[in-house]
């Protein structure tokens, strides 16, 4: 009897801390490493590089010499010297605008095909995941330099000159560049195929069965079931592709961020980051607008 009261007391003492607080404590312990890492490896460098972008930074043997210069770097990059940002940025943006839809459509198509049941599926799947392994590396750059990226028929049918004659040069040159490395565009779609393939698994097969019983044609099934079901993954892929393209280390603008001039490089990196945010914002806006429009169409 006495023993029991003792344990009761123990339990009672433990319960002084409310359960919600212990839960929060446990959660904090799990989240703590990541949060510490975020503060040290992300927030501090972010803040410091923002600070540096307003300074003239010189690394000397004795230490770092910092003199405030205000908006000088920003003015220099954005107004005085077009070489650093604009000459690289606009062709790149146009190229990205062409590349992103191609990557998305291609990876959606491949993912839907790979989801079918057919002989040799495993074999093709393992080939199609190869890009995931290589695209991050130096190897792709080697291929790009080798000219392994183009498709043969471009030279054969002289498509370049046709495009050049019929299109504004500002749009013709990025289009030609994309076509010239079309294969590489496909190489960039590895992770996107993965995401679509995983996303396709979330649409339950009973929906397809019901549609079949109701006599829907496969064409209708694709437009009315598969595509609406994939919308969240299309958005996810859109974000992933944008971020991936914009932060690729071989990206022409980012290669200019060097340790040669800390202040100016920081300013450039920040301008570029803001551009990425704006671009993502536009993507989101367009996407929500498109979704609203299609939603209205469906309601009619």
């Amino acid at each position: 009897m006495a023993v029991k009261t003792a344990t009761d007391k123990k339990v009672a003492k433990k319960r002084v801390i409310p359960a919600s607080v212990t839960r929060k404590l446990e959660g904090s312990i799990f989240a703590a490493p990541w949060i510490i890492g975020f503060l040290v490896f992300m927030l501090f460098p972010l803040a410091y590089s923002l600070y540096m972008s307003f300074q003239q930074v010189r690394i000397l043997g004795t230490g770092i010499e910092i003199t405030p210069v205000g908006l000088k770097h920003y003015r220099y990059i954005m107004l005085e010297n077009a070489n650093i940002l604009y000459n690289q940025l606009f062709p790149f943006l146009r190229q990205a605008l062409i590349m992103i839809p191609i990557i998305l459509v291609f990876s959606l198509l491949v993912a839907i095909i790979l989801n079918q049941n057919f002989a040799g599926r495993g074999f093709f799947r393992s080939i199609f995941f190869l890009p995931v392994i290589f695209t991050t590396g130096q190897v792709v750059r080697e291929f790009m330099n080798q000219g392994e990226g183009d498709i043969g028929f471009i030279q054969r049918y002289n498509i370049t000159s046709i495009i050049g004659q019929n299109l504004d040069p500002t749009w013709a040159s990025p289009l030609i560049a994309v076509m010239g490395s079309f294969v590489l565009v496909l190489w960039y779609s590895g992770v996107q195929i993965l995401i679509f393939l995983a996303g396709r698994q979330t649409i339950s097969s009973s929906v397809y069965e019901a549609a079949r019983i109701d006599g829907a044609s496969p064409w209708e099934v694709f437009w009315k079931i598969t595509l609406p079901g994939m919308v969240p993954f299309i958005l996810l892929n859109l974000i992933y592709t944008t971020v991936d393209l914009f932060t690729f280390p071989t990206n022409p603008i980012l290669t200019q961020v060097t340790s040669a001039n800390y202040g100016q490089s920081s300013a450039l990196a920040w301008i570029y980051f803001v551009i990425i945010l704006v671009f993502l914002g536009i993507v989101f806006w367009l996407f929500s607008k498109a979704q609203k429009a299609s939603g209205l169409a469906a309601n009619k």
């Binding site: 975020f38 199609f128 130096q138």
Partner: protein, 322 residues
């Protein structure tokens, strides 16, 4: 009367037979559900083989170019099948890369980062998926922010910090963030784990809790064993991406003698273009580059060959997204 009826019946049967034949033929060519017909099959295989060719072409080209000797290289009629298999270039690349040395550095670095990220991102992902902590929504926003911040925005302060702490030309600046669930694409891995854990049924944890397990035990004994597909996907991604990454090593390991393979290959290609500028290009430049590229992708290829079955399955089961 009865004769008339049988006649009509016969005619009907005839019609039905004729129709049956037609439908059968249609099913064979177009398929019952349009994704099972011959025509569609042929189309699918056409697309698949085309794309597979596109993906395999550079790799095959790389291997073929690598084993050509000088006669084959100069002969434009030799494209895909070299007359002799010449391994001298490969050997040259092996020595120039100091392969055994650089290979072991790459292996240690990638393994270290991959193991650390696999563990630390799982912990963070579990916290984001299932646990409560103060300002969770704010930290979630920070996670997404981490995902979209280009590495170049934070690299310069990190460089300064590393040099102030005397960590330049060591591997610490690359490995240390991985310990905290950051580092190369760390945010993506946390997101993958978060998605995975949030799709798991809550009943398992509740049952374990009723059995008296604390949160650490639940994570270690219940959730981690469940997360095998996610662990495999994250580990493979992390390993391969660290293996291929040359940006971080080129920033932190400037001027170090023993570098990982990814940096070694870019040093060789820089050296080759310098030589080409001085003495004119050599026919062996391209095969040498291809040979170094081959040597660097060979280990991840082998790793992928062994794990791809689980990897493909894992990707589907992780629900990577949702």
């Amino acid at each position: 009367m009865t004769r008339l009826i049988t006649a009509i019946k016969d005619k009907r049967v005839d019609q039905i037979n004729w129709r049956l034949g037609l439908t059968k033929a249609r099913y064979l060519i177009l398929g019952k559900e349009a994704d099972k017909g011959l025509l569609f099959r042929a189309f699918i295989y056409l697309v698949l083989i085309d794309v597979a060719y596109i993906y395999l072409n550079p790799i095959l080209f790389m291997i073929v170019t690598m084993v050509k000797d000088s006669a084959d290289l100069l002969d434009p009629s030799v494209i895909w099948v070299p007359r002799t298999i010449y391994l001298g270039v490969l050997q040259d690349a092996w020595e120039k890369l100091r392969y055994p040395k650089q290979f072991s550095i790459s292996l240690m670095l990638s393994l270290g980062v991959a193991v650390l990220q696999t563990i630390s991102c799982a912990v963070a992902g579990y916290a984001f998926a299932r646990l409560e902590f103060p300002f969770k929504r704010f930290w979630m926003f920070c996670l997404l922010l981490t995902f979209i911040v280009p590495i170049q925005v934070t690299i310069l302060p990190n460089l300064i910090a590393a040099s102030q702490l005397g960590l330049m030309r060591t591997y610490w600046p690359i490995v240390l963030p991985a310990l905290f669930g950051h580092g190369l694409k760390g945010a993506l891995f946390v997101i993958i784990y978060r998605q995975f854990f949030s799709t798991q049924p809550k009943e398992l944890e509740e049952a374990a809790k009723i059995d008296g397990a604390n949160v650490f035990k639940i994570f270690y004994k219940v959730m981690l064993p469940l997360a095998k597909p996610a662990i495999l996907v994250v580990f493979l991604f992390s390993f391969v991406w660290t293996w291929n990454d040359y940006y971080l090593p080129s920033m932190y390991l400037n001027g170090v003698k023993d570098v990982p393979l990814s940096l070694g290959i870019s040093q060789i290609s820089a050296m080759l273009s310098q030589q080409a500028a001085e003495f004119g290009p050599s026919i062996f430049d391209e095969p040498l580059k291809m040979a170094t590229a081959f040597l660097i992708i060979l280990p991840p290829m082998i790793l992928y060959a062994f794990t791809q079955r689980w990897f493909v399955e894992g990707v589907e089961r992780t629900g990577l997204v949702e």
